[in-house]
């Protein structure tokens, strides 16, 4: 049962129905996060957040899909979710140990531990995790940790009518995804590619446990083109800090030393 699990979200199969969004809210019993009309195509969810753990992006482009005869236009959908990065910024920055890596290799925020320091929020390269001011804790997709414990599929993947969201063992998902891209490319869909499927393709996170098949630049979907978790470069900061600390110490000692001289002069 345990072992690395994740999502493969194939946007070429997504029909933008938002079943994933609602199934997630239903299972996790999340509240709504405002009834606001945005003017952004059919996307009134806008982004992932403390109360929204699945978000379907709607992109209207004046560009045709290479396999579609529908004029100079296409409408892309993509169901975004926490990526459960192999190296996760939120996890590594969490000072309380509220965020842990589970036996399924997913990243889980323990709501009974989180003290709402907010540090994970500025450490997520995908803008996923967030805090609701009234609640004070950080929240995000749990990969349905509770369901996985019972060998159940996460709510979003289970609900997805078109198998755009596939849940499974990561190894299998990666194979499936590669076969899928090949098939699509053979069928003429040259623009299809995988996003974050492994460490090689996304060294900054060492790969995503929830990865995607996309049809346009990541930016179009509001995904970073080359994300890196901060902790990956933190060594340099510490070195720099050591230097700075030494500098202050030196300055302090120097001040004390020179003050003696000054006293004499």
């Amino acid at each position: 049962m345990a072992g690395a699990k994740g999502f493969f979200t194939d946007t070429t199969l997504c029909i933008g129905c938002k079943a994933c969004e609602v199934a997630c809210k239903q299972w996790n019993q999340l509240p709504d996060d405002g009834l606001l009309f945005t003017g952004m195509s059919y996307d009134n969810t806008v982004h992932l957040g403390a109360s929204t753990w699945r978000h379907v992006a709607f992109i209207e482009r004046p560009v045709p899909l290479s396999t579609q005869d529908a004029g100079a236009f296409s409408w892309l959908f993509s169901s975004d979710v926490c990526k459960h990065c192999v190296r996760a910024g939120c996890l590594e920055s969490c000072p309380t140990g509220a965020i842990i890596r589970t036996e399924f290799d997913s990243v889980y925020v323990q709501p009974d531990i989180c003290n709402g320091c907010g540090y994970c929020i500025v450490n997520c390269p995908f803008g996923v995790i967030d805090r609701r001011s009234e609640d004070g804790r950080a929240w995000k997709c749990t990969l349905c940790y509770d369901r996985l414990r019972e060998d159940m599929t996460p709510a979003c993947a289970k609900a997805c009518p078109t198998e755009s969201i596939v849940f499974g063992d990561l190894d299998e998902l990666r194979t499936r995804a590669r076969v899928r891209v090949e098939k699509l490319q053979d069928a003429g869909m040259r623009e299809a590619y995988l996003y974050g499927e492994d460490a090689a393709s996304q060294p900054g996170t060492e790969g995503l446990n929830a990865f995607f098949l996309l049809l346009d630049k990541p930016e179009v979907y509001n995904l970073p083109p080359d994300p890196a978790i901060p902790t990956k470069g933190v060594g340099r900061s510490w070195i720099s800090m050591a230097a700075a600390a030494a500098g202050i110490a030196l300055m302090a000692v120097g001040s004390v030393f020179f003050s003696k001289l000054g006293g004499r002069s």
Binding site: M40, T96, C117, Y221, P225, S240, A249, M251, V256
Partner: protein
């Protein structure tokens, strides 16, 4: 671009956004206990034709990243923690001097360190979403998290200072040595306290912070020295101590100005990353901070130092240092709101550049 509008109010007399009647259903899901407030009525509406900009696309110009949820307590904490830390360093340096004439000064340094750390801790707690869980910071030892490290440092620094203070009266024996060791270690922790916040802020995905991650500890450290100097400027001290703090303050201020300049130059490699340091409220804050610091530096460098000048320099320096922390915070938030900052930064090869 985007305009704000007010949504239609809905008659939600009693709603938690789930609106489940608990006599019909059980609410035991993962987020069933998530507390919600009044529904948001204001939002941003996209008022253009929906199409990603060719060549430089975004998702309706919506932020990619979440901006920090920190309240003003955090930049204030950077300031108080820095001041406290730098004071402890100064105390330890004075201890090194070995002469009894600095005892009072050392005590004062320790006091500033202890009070500053206490205020800092309180500020940190006040900023937490769940303040009652502040001690969870010490639940684990997680070296990957600068904030966890900071918590340990923040716990250690005043503890050392208190120990040093307690044992300061002992002039011999093991207790004296403990006192001395505690004094020196308070200096070490103080140096860490004064600079780690730079690691903390730089260890983030926010473009302008991320871009400055190497200079931020220096900037914050320098600024800490400057602010500690400024705080001492505001206090009456004996001549020797005044000289120490003046030198220290001048060094800090110089370093702060240099580091700030370096940070600005570094960020400018990607124009949209540097944007918040140049434009908008954060840009004004950032520039004003440097002006204040420079002014205080000039005050300290003027010949014929007197109490008035010291006071002026102290106020200007503290103000500059404080504003600097707020400017960094504001710049980070502005940077987080601009998706292009991240996209351009990463497209410019600054994404996994440091990963290799």
């Amino acid at each position: 671009m985007n305009q704000t509008f007010v949504g239609r109010p809905v008659d939600r007399v009693q709603t938690d956004g789930r609106d489940i009647d608990t006599s019909l259903a059980e609410l035991t899901g993962e987020a069933a206990q998530q507390i919600t407030g009044a529904p948001e009525l204001a939002g941003v509406v996209w008022d253009q034709f929906p199409a990603p900009r060719a060549g430089d696309p975004t998702y309706y110009d919506r932020p990619l990243l979440k901006q920090s949820v920190w309240k003003p307590f955090i930049p204030l904490y950077y300031f108080t923690g820095g001041t406290a830390g730098a004071s402890l360093v100064l105390g330890a340096a004075a201890q090194l001097d070995g002469s009894r004439e600095l005892d009072k000064f050392i005590r004062r340094c320790h006091w500033i360190g202890i009070i500053g750390s206490t205020i800092s801790g309180s500020l940190l707690i006040a900023d937490l979403g769940r303040p009652e869980r502040f001690l969870y910071m010490l639940r684990v030892f997680r070296p990957t998290s600068p904030m966890n490290m900071g918590a340990w440092i923040l716990a250690a620094a005043p503890s050392a200072a208190i120990t040093a203070g307690l044992f300061a009266r002992h002039s011999h024996g093991i207790l004296q040595r403990i006192g001395e060791a505690a004094g020196y270690s308070s200096g070490v922790f103080g140096a860490a306290l004064a600079t780690y916040t730079g690691v903390l802020a730089g260890n983030a995905v926010i473009p302008v912070w991320k871009e400055s991650r190497r200079v931020l500890p220096v900037l914050f450290g320098a600024s800490a020295a400057a602010s500690a100097g400024a705080i001492f400027d505001l206090m009456f001290e004996d001549e020797r101590a005044c000289r120490i703090t003046r030198y220290f303050g001048i060094g800090g201020r110089l370093a702060e100005l240099a580091a700030a300049h370096s940070m600005e130059r570094g960020a400018a490699r990607v124009p949209s990353v540097a944007q918040p340091l140049k434009k908008g409220l954060s840009g004004v804050m950032w520039k004003t901070a440097s002006v204040l610091t420079a002014a205080s530096l000039v005050m300290l460098m003027l010949p014929r130092q007197n109490r008035k000048k010291r006071m002026a320099a102290g106020l200007l320096g503290a103000g500059g240092s404080l504003l600097l922390r707020f400017a960094v915070e504001a710049a980070g938030n502005a940077s987080a709101r601009d998706p292009r900052a991240t996209f351009h930064q990463q497209r410019a090869g600054q994404g996994t550049r440091e990963v290799e």
